[in-house]
């Protein structure tokens, strides 16, 4: 859902909240120049993390805005020739919602299904591409089940067919190496608060060679290459830049540590509980996002029982809805299993003690709830739950 600010990021940001408060677009005085220098440095830091040129980075208010700009902006610019978009069924809500908005403008959208592992089937993508396809949008790492899509292969396929490729990399940037050129990525969304940076800032990478054009969503003074008007929040941009620079530095160490803690969490839970399903491919994934389903346990009760720990069923942006996660539905999870799924997030500041505490609490509560569950009793007796004819009273 989010990450805390790395203290070093806060250190970088603070001067730009107080003394260095100038508007980076003020051309005529030192307040503006000093802030502009800082914003441009931050831009270069973001670019370096993903292998881009600083001129290709546009600061936004977050990955939601970046996704909106990428999808609606590209589609509307090329609308005279291209009326079709392709995305996957497991995308973030803002991508799916942007596609839905475009459908009401007369575009056609293909929502590709995914395999039970959560990975996209490249053959289905290939056959979905049409001569009038403007954009393919597939996220790098899924926020609910942590699955990592084969973006290099998707990018190569799109490049060979002359279609722009956008990826929502909010959950991937800073946690694994990404190179926009090696992966043939044309547009990419970045979120500040997913990599120990501040909330309220993100970026969109927009390729310059070959040039990707888009119709801006926000009209105004033409800042950010005309793509996103509005004063760039210098202290937030500085924070994003610092977070990206630190992420590059700490990536190898964090990745090994998170992988180890994630393995510890899964192994300990699975060794103490039966009928636990790990959702999503575990080979092609970000280990810090673990999604487990506990059979015969009611999901909301489990979440309430685990109140001490910040967990979620489904992602933060959909946690208020009563329907089970559409991502789990897309990977073919049974509806009752989808209801009792929990997402565990492990990051740079997660300690081993916290993992052990969570495991113990989770095991205890699942056992307690299973004791109370009549379904569990039937499963223990060997009854196939699917064969039950439920009656209405």
């Amino acid at each position: 859902a989010t990450t805390p600010l790395d203290p070093r990021v806060l250190d970088a940001m603070l001067p730009y909240c107080t003394g260095l408060f100038g508007n980076p677009h003020s051309r005529s005085h030192a307040y503006g120049w000093e802030t502009e220098t800082a914003v441009e440095k931050a831009r270069a830091q973001v670019a370096q993390l993903i292998g881009a040129d600083p001129k290709e980075i546009v600061f936004t208010s977050g990955a939601t805005e970046s996704n909106n700009i990428a999808i609606k902006g590209v589609a509307r610019f090329y609308k005279s020739r291209k009326r079709h978009l392709i995305t996957s069924q497991t995308e973030h809500k803002c991508v799916l919602d942007s596609c839905r908005a475009l459908e009401s403008e007369g575009f056609e959208v293909t929502y590709l299904p995914v395999k039970p592992s959560g990975l996209l089937d490249l053959a289905s993508l290939e056959s979905a591409i049409r001569p009038d396809t403007a954009l393919v949008s597939v996220m790098t790492v899924n926020n609910e089940i942590g699955v990592r899509q084969p973006v290099e292969k998707i990018g190569a396929l799109c490049r060979s067919r002359g279609v722009f490729f956008h990826t929502d990399a909010a959950q991937a940037v800073g946690k694994m190496p990404i190179d926009v050129n090696a992966a043939c990525i044309d547009l990419m969304s970045i979120s500040g608060h997913k990599l120990y940076g501040p909330k309220g800032v993100g970026a969109i990478y927009v390729r310059r060679r070959p040039r990707v054009r888009l119709e801006p969503l926000q009209s105004g003074g033409g800042q950010e290459r005309g793509m996103r008007s509005g004063t760039v929040p210098s202290f937030l941009a500085v924070g994003l830049g610092a977070a990206c620079q630190l992420a590059g530095q700490e990536m190898a160490f964090d990745a090994e540590r998170v992988d180890r803690l994630s393995q510890r969490l899964i192994d300990r839970i699975v060794s103490q509980l039966s009928h636990v399903v790990v959702n999503g491919d575990r080979d092609s994934c970000y280990p810090g996002c673990v999604n487990l389903s506990f059979a015969c346990v009611e999901g909301e009760s489990l979440l309430m029982a685990l109140k001490d720990v910040a967990l979620s069923s489904g992602s933060a942006c959909t946690s208020a809805s009563l329907e089970p996660s559409y991502v789990l539905r897309a990977i073919g999870a049974d509806e009752d299993l989808a209801h009792s799924s929990i997402r565990f997030g492990i990051g740079r500041f997660t300690t081993e003690a916290e993992v052990d505490y969570t495991v113990d609490l989770c095991v205890r509560q699942v056992r307690r709830l299973r004791e109370l569950s009549p379904l569990w009793e039937m499963v223990q007796e060997g009854v196939d739950l699917k064969s039950i004819q439920w009656t209405q009273h």
Binding site: Y78, R213, E215, R225, G226
Partner: protein, 166 residues
């Protein structure tokens, strides 16, 4: 006696414009050819074959203009007093001479450089066939080209005012 002081001829054709203001002679298509020799724009090459261009302004009205091969499109449009701005005077530092060309992939059209693309990025109402008119040099093969003016430039004034060329 006040002497009528004419400004010195400057290479970008502004002599031509201020001369026009003093003489108060409206520019008609027939006299445009006479002006081309007095306009000493560095981009204008003398005596190339004529190239006719149709310009559609933002109200949809068509204007026929005629230039010479080697002439700069922006300067041609300005000679005919069409409402095209050129804030940076054709030095590739703004996007106010933004136009839409009907055949953007024509071989006779000079291909877009990265610097022009960078300036175009900032133009409002950008389309796939957008170009900066100051970067288009007329060639014989462009005869009959149709060029459309966008609704507004980055300098747009809501009262409809269009800045005069410099």
């Amino acid at each position: 006696l006040p002497r009528l002081l004419l400004p010195a001829a400057a290479p970008s054709g502004c002599f031509c414009n201020s001369h026009r203001a003093l003489v108060r002679r409206p520019v008609a298509a027939a006299t445009a050819a006479a002006y081309s020799s007095s306009s000493t724009a560095a981009a204008d090459a003398p005596a190339g074959p004529p190239v006719s261009v149709t310009v559609i302004d933002k109200s949809g009205k068509e204007h026929q203009v005629s230039g010479q091969s080697g002439e700069n499109l922006l300067r041609l449009l300005q000679r005919y007093e069409l409402p095209v701005e050129g804030a940076c005077e054709a030095s590739l530092a703004c996007c106010t001479c933004h136009v839409y060309v009907d055949a953007p992939d024509s071989a006779d059209l000079s291909s877009v450089t990265e610097a022009e693309e960078d300036m175009l990025d900032m133009a409002p109402f950008l389309r796939e066939n957008s170009r900066l008119s100051c970067q288009i040099v007329l060639a014989a093969g462009l005869d009959g080209m149709r060029v459309t003016l966008p609704q507004a430039t980055r300098n747009f004034y809501v009262d409809g005012h269009v800045p005069k060329p410099h």
